[in-house]
Symmetry: C2
Subunit: 335 residues, 2 copies
DNA sequence: GTGAAAGCGCTAACAT
DNA sequence: ATGTTAGCGCTTTCAC
């Protein structure tokens, strides 16, 4: 900037004002300075500007990385979420600092805020550490979490209506006449627990008893669905439907069923969760529960900004929607 | 920091030194300061530190966004790449600033560098603007591009060996006895053009003539593969194999072939490109060309760092590999 | 309309 | 081993 000032024959104050479109500066000099800056490929140093202004336009987006189950960025659902966030942040003129942290230490996400790197944190997935997130919130670190709303929650979440989603999926399978519906998911994770709650609600509403044998604790990595199916077959568990907590699990389950010579949807109907882009292209096209990813990005960013703005923000639910495709088509049931 | 200094009864210099593990500071006071800092959730302000030191540990990762074809972050391949980059950057203690830019204005990516936000740029995909990238490089903006090596290239690329990949795929199909191999891809894109070159090389090596009818300009969005297949069938073009430039295109093509009652691999063998995670889970499991994504992240980051370090860096090729699965199984050819 | 000077939070000579 | 001081690149009072 000092170079520009010298070349333009003015002081740095004037250059600063010119480059910030101040109305106090002469139109003619402003243009001269602007052109000089462009020809030198000069841009204002954002770091210095932020330091001086005590401001910042960066948001940290943090994807927890589960060392145990290895589900990190592998699920396409995350990618859609990142895309949606990138759009929403760009719209607000915010930059996105992307990072991964150990899912067991969600509290470390605060570092970006403490170190002044970011004005707030968007955490994709809440995993098992409700307590750590509460601690962040009580420290007044601006944070929004994509996940489920839990009792005694101090932090702000945005998430889809998991209970309703689980209910929709199960109700749909029941309406098809399926009676032995397997649930695939790790109920230790809050979101999955809520989907499971919806599953049980649907059963209860249809006066059906819940069979613990049919609830299989499957992590989010695809291989675990494969093993789960093998296991069910090995143990001769009778089932005529699967509700899987992610599309990836559903797809993997379908492929594994095929190995056991079980047909989808004739022998086993399958419903997934997320409605990732590939669900539509899968064979057979996958019935699933859609989450409104586009709104998700905006909702997360808006919540964060309100919070930074000092407003009290409430957890937010986004609607879920049943998308019926071929894996749950009505067919003559095998006996 | 001044607060900590006051509370610890020392000067800010001492606090600074203590927090930076300087050996000049008394062990006892260092511990006292460290504990004070922890209890106050204090972290050094990175912006100020960077300003003072004239350093920076942030790399901008830029994903061009093609307004025309809308391929932005939708391809799972990008996600793997982001994951790989996140790993490689973290390993080096670098932060990742993620953003999307208009694919027609790749030069705007330099802004992050000019504004001091990042020490360099990693661009995922080179698209159509070789010239803009050359301009960046001649301005000495540290930049590495995931893409193809082109003639008269001033910037550094890292990419898979596309020519070889295209060759492998085509050679494989020819070895299966396929004779009318359709190529799906937009040869305006350098990487695709190279895969096409490999395709033609394989044909030439087998003394086969290239039929322009069989080269279909398909963009990277899935829907275009669908239309392309419909179009081929409508025009009664005879073909017995497809080599698609991405797995997504291959999958979509397979689904569309099914609508035309064409069986994969019996009627039409299919080979994709990328080996995305879902390729293995698809039905039938997809034969494809694998790119070493894990090494890709490291290669990109290392190239960038060498460049910043002042070394001359050369474009880098990563090996491609044929992964044979079910969509190209040897079968009795229909006549 | 423009310039001089102070200060954002930090570190590194240079003292002591 | 610790304190003093200057300055990183910028913006913004306060003068003129």
């Amino acid at each position: 900037m000092v170079d520009i000032a010298r070349l333009a024959g003015v002081s740095t104050s004037t250059v600063s004002r010119a480059l910030n479109q101040s109305s106090l500066v002469n139109e003619e000099t402003r243009i001269r300075i602007a052109e000089l800056a462009r020809s030198l490929n000069y841009s204002i140093n954002i770091g210095a500007k932020n330091l001086r202004l005590g401001q910042n336009r960066t948001v940290a987006v943090v994807v927890p990385y589960d060392a145990q189950t290895q589900q990190h960025l592998s699920d396409p659902f995350f990618l859609s979420m990142l895309g949606s966030l990138a759009d929403a942040l760009t719209e607000q003129g915010l930059d996105m600092l992307l990072s991964r942290i150990d899912a067991e230490r969600l509290d470390t996400a605060a570092h970006f805020y403490d170190a002044g790197r970011a004005i707030g944190i968007i955490l994709i997935g809440q995993w098992r550490h409700h307590d750590q997130l509460n601690e962040l919130a009580s420290r007044r670190v601006p944070v929004v979490v994509w996940g489920a709303q839990l009792p005694q929650q101090l932090y702000c979440t945005v998430g889809s209506d998991n209970v309703h989603g689980g209910f929709l999926a199960t109700e749909h399978l029941l309406a098809l006449g399926r009676r032995k519906i397997v649930f695939f998911g790790d109920t230790n994770l809050p979101e999955v627990a809520q989907r499971f709650e919806g599953y049980r609600n649907a059963l209860a509403q249809n006066n059906m008893e819940f069979d613990p044998l049919l609830c299989v604790p499957v992590s989010f990595i695809a291989e675990s669905a494969k093993e789960a199916v093998h296991d069910l077959c090995r143990r001769n568990v009778a089932f005529d439907a699967i509700f899987a907590c992610s599309d990836l699990l559903a797809m993997m389950a379908i492929n594994t069923l095929r190995e056991h010579n079980l047909h989808v949807p004739q022998d086993v109907a399958v419903v997934g969760y997320d409605d990732i882009e590939l669900a539509r292209y899968f064979h057979p096209p996958l019935t699933t529960i859609g989450q409104p990813i586009q709104s998700a990005g905006h909702a997360l960013v808006n919540s964060l900004l309100s919070q930074i703005n000092g407003d009290r923000v409430k957890p937010q639910f986004l609607p879920t929607q049943l998308i019926v495709r071929a894996t749950s088509k009505r067919t003559a049931l095998p006996d």
